[in-house]
Symmetry: C2
Subunit: 427 residues, 2 copies
């Protein structure tokens, strides 16, 4: 027999043992249900899209996996134009552009699914990973950001994460900062990329990068003067508004509304905090931007923002849109560090996994009948063949998360399951 | 603004509107929970595997989608060796070979997920589609097939499908038929391929194909004489056993046990029927094989069988295995024809989707507070901005599956949702 090495593909190597998968599924279900409470509806798009659609946002080509037939006999046109999605936002924009006439207005979408990126794999960074996005399309109102923030913090708090901080800023204020310092319009993108590194490089590092990047020296000096006011731990919205006179009235107003309203209703121990240094990498944001971090974990669990100009590229007219994305891999690693998932919530009866042990060659009909009766009583029953070494078998059942076991020693009587934790070994 | 056509990729074009997606998710959840009642545990493998693993079963190369970087700058070794899975059985075999020491023995796995095939798309046939498999690895006993059949028919019956018929046969009996007729060992595979077409071509067609295929004329004649006994609507296990003396004692015994026991416990209106003409295409089956069809629908909804020699290619030693696979696309089209999914089962409270309408520029804080209070009462609440044409807005809510609506006319009082079905138009 030719033996093939049963190894996983590099970067496609995140998979769980069955008990971990049970926990992962419960996590997904809890998050999905919580978003449904906030009026969001699930949608799923195919894993592959036309390459023209995927590249419509620009800048992602390097990360894209194209599809081709392994044994290509002819030019398979459709396959040659297809590639795996690298995020859930571009497929959502395509879905909306294609179906908007039949969709609720606004569309409040939940998407939970895999995305693929042809990046170099690293620890905790995979080529296939799960994203969980909520988006509101068709409504330009601070109500949207308030609900995105409350729904996401509520879901994370129900998972047992405490001390969540939502940092919020607005792209229009960042533009105001750039203009106020005197950076010309064409230099804004490069300025934001440098500014985004404040956490990692510190103020001196960012200023050095700007100087080396050939930016206008006066602009960099004015930015240096403004920086202490931006990076103060408790930057004040009103203070900064006074220091940066400009035309961004709507941005200031909506930020104030979002922060005040969300803080009044947010889960206990969580808060929304204005952070004028928050940039977020993506160039497509047009309004409020936000990130969530849990107490004790520096990097963010979720991030998002408003992107009012993306859907237009596919629909031909602009549609207001704002979304929040949870990084599942990070969430799982934080939950694992904290000792796993909280118990399944809600009215669901505690599900008791039981092994019904039957002798090899024993009364199969009686065993199947007994298993059925136990299932009606609410047990999750696995019919298994009794091994010679029953003690070892029961130990294994404990290892694999079984609650109890039953034997069929008297086929005339319905067996009563016993908890494995309190067992005396049979025989 | 450059506009990109928002079309789907050919063959990757199955997606649902949000209300259909809700139903699809409920369907998946119902099936998964039902299999969990039978002691199965969920597992998920990555979408892509090493090409060497995917082709270890043989014969699937043509259908496989390979991955490559769209903007390949260097030879990305890992990507070049990866391809999308075309079924859930090969990845399960790899998963088992890799993790068996840490898995329950037997492993009873549920897998629900997409698979990809580079085939020509047709009506109801996609390049990405969902498979739902249950498999038992590590146990060779008729108990396995009995549980596979009962769990699957139970799940389908809960979905409201009635009159399910499970046709069952055994690969070892097919071998016995081939040997009894006198087909040499080397001709068995071709003989089974022709025999498999009995439903489509009829007896005359199958015999013609065998003759034209250059098979031994005596063997074909003996098969012709045996055929009436095989294709009789009520072929008898005992009758055929007497007519085909041979060494397949275990096959006859286990088939009899499976049929008798499963029929005693199967859901009302369903039955298991011996069908000696059932072949099933795949060459890797080694024992019992089975298919389920619903009354009124000729093609099968689910199919499977025992494949005791597949895992060996990856593990180096043979492991008994048997599985059942539900074709989701067919199931969905049958359910749609019958008027959709049955209502969500179980203790879950009826979930009432409500739109809370707030005036643009109204009291955002009061609206968010009211929405929260309604969610605590168990409503699924979507905060929406009241439009000028409220009547049209309420009609739209009905279209999109909302149960009710509420307005915030008196911010001091908690709003009471009204059912849209009984509404009098406001204003």
């Amino acid at each position: 027999m030719r033996k093939v090495r049963p190894a996983l593909l590099k970067g496609f190597d995140q998979e769980f043992l069955p008990q971990e998968q049970l926990q992962f599924n419960a996590l997904v279900e809890l998050i999905r249900r919580n978003f449904e409470r906030f009026g969001f509806l699930p949608i799923e798009t195919p894993s592959a899209e036309r390459i023209e659609v995927l590249t419509s946002k620009g800048g992602a080509e390097k990360e894209i996996y194209a599809l081709s037939r392994l044994a290509a006999e002819d030019d398979d046109e459709a396959a040659a134009k297809g590639a795996l999605r690298f995020d859930l936002t571009v497929p959502l924009a395509r879905y909306y552009a294609e179906n908007h006439a039949r969709l609720p207005d606004p569309l409040k979408a939940i998407q939970i699914g895999p995305v693929w990126r042809a990046e170099r794999p690293q620890k905790g960074r995979f080529r296939q990973f799960t994203q969980c996005d909520i988006d509101v399309l068709g409504l330009a109102s601070p109500l949207v950001e308030i609900e995105l923030i409350l729904a996401t913090t509520d879901a994370l708090a129900r998972l047992g994460l405490s001390g969540l901080t939502v940092r919020i800023n607005d792209r229009r204020l960042l533009e105001l900062v750039a203009r106020d310092c005197g950076f010309p319009e064409a230099a804004h993108a490069a300025f934001f990329i440098a500014f985004d590194k404040l956490d990692r490089l510190g103020a001196a590092g960012v200023l050095a990068e700007l100087r080396e990047g050939g930016h206008d020296a006066d602009a960099v000096r004015r930015f240096e003067a403004l920086l202490p006011r931006l990076s103060a731990a408790e930057a004040s919205l009103e203070g900064l508004r006074a220091a940066l006179p400009g035309a961004a009235e709507t941005a200031w107003e909506s930020l104030a509304t979002i922060i005040t309203t969300a803080n009044a209703e947010i889960a206990a121990g969580c808060r929304v905090r204005f952070d004028p240094t928050l940039v977020r990498g993506m160039g497509y944001y047009t309004g409020p931007i936000f990130e969530i971090a849990a107490a004790g974990y520096p990097s963010s669990i979720a991030g998002g923002g408003r992107y009012d100009r993306m859907i237009g590229r596919l629909l031909g007219r602009e549609v207001p849109a704002s979304g929040f994305s949870i990084g599942f891999e990070r969430l799982i690693s934080i939950l694992a560090e904290r000792g796993g998932m909280p118990a399944r919530e809600g009215a669901e009866a505690p599900q008791r996994r039981v092994a019904l042990l039957v002798d090899d060659g024993g009364d199969v009909a009686a065993a199947v009948r007994a298993a059925k009766a136990l299932r009606v009583e609410g047990y999750l029953v696995s019919l298994e063949v009794r091994r010679k070494n029953v003690r070892k078998q029961l130990d294994d059942l404990v290892t694999h998360g079984f609650w109890g076991y039953a034997t069929l020693d008297d086929p005339a009587r319905r067996p009563t399951p016993k908890a494995l934790a309190r067992r005396e070994d049979p025989r």
